[in-house]
Symmetry: C2
Subunit: 139 residues, 2 copies
DNA sequence: GCCTATTCTGGAATCATTCAAGAATAGTGG
DNA sequence: CCACTATTCTTGAATGATTCCAGAATAGGC
């Protein structure tokens, strides 16, 4: 299924900016809005900042993209959706990698106490140093 | 151990704004900077915004406060530190509650694959609706 | 091909937070 | 108790990511 088809099935209008945003996130998993903008402009030089933001929002709203917001970093976007996998974030450079569910299939965590909250998602973020930053700090 | 003593032991200068910040976070667990500012000004009306921000940062840096940053919300601060407990966040009103470690003592989660990252923390955030927002949305 | 709702463009605004320069002050040594 | 110096405070401006706005463009149904 190509991007155009995915957009249509999700009930979104198929526009050049949206296809380009979808394609950019495919090329750059965990890209932030700025990186997406740069990539999109390689093929569509006149796309506005807002077209990218609203495209990212529309795509995330229908589930074609997943938005992750690591503390202290701008939001990142990825196409791997629906499995609630987790992420490792490098404290030094902000690099992100996927991590499969810690325990079994998603939703993979049950809190020991929920204080009456109706919980629908368990989000896990691992923090540390990526391979290349780890080497630098050890030196 | 009172606030003054805690500050001193952590190697921080004891100032009125810092004591007030520490006291405010004790009164309001999971308060954001703005709520802390308001509370601090109840006793010290002329404290600046930056005194609160720099106080929060200094206190968090030495571990007297823990800073949490739920996606889409301003940073919150709490005095319960050192146990890496987790949080439930209400999607509707942003209310936060503590949740004990999902599995055993902290650090309580081990990723199935780390991609070479040197991981030092597993942060878990549960998302859902708090008791009062859950009631409203069910109605 | 036309019509209308949706999306896009350009520009300004918002929010949380941080930076900068100079005044105030905590804590040390005398 | 006082002076000294580094730290912290004040005021005010700046930053970065993101959103809001009004009007122009356009996707998709008829």
């Amino acid at each position: 299924m190509d991007d155009t088809e995915e957009l249509r099935r999700s009930g979104l209008r198929v526009t050049a900016p949206r296809r380009a945003v979808l394609e950019a996130v495919r090329q750059l998993p965990h890209a932030d809005a700025d990186a997406v903008l740069t990539t999109v402009r390689a093929s569509l030089p006149s796309v506005s900042v807002q077209a990218v933001y609203s495209g990212l929002k529309a795509l995330a709203d229908v589930g074609l993209l997943r938005r992750i917001e690591p503390a202290g970093h701008p939001a990142r976007y990825e196409r791997r959706t629906g499995d609630n996998h987790h992420h490792v974030v490098c404290r030094s450079c902000g690099a992100i990698d996927d991590v499969d569910c810690a325990i079994g299939p998603s939703p993979c965590l049950t809190p020991s106490s929920s204080h009456g909250f109706a919980i629908d998602e368990a989000e896990v973020t691992y923090w540390g140093l990526c391979p290349s930053c780890g080497v630098k700090s050890a030196a």
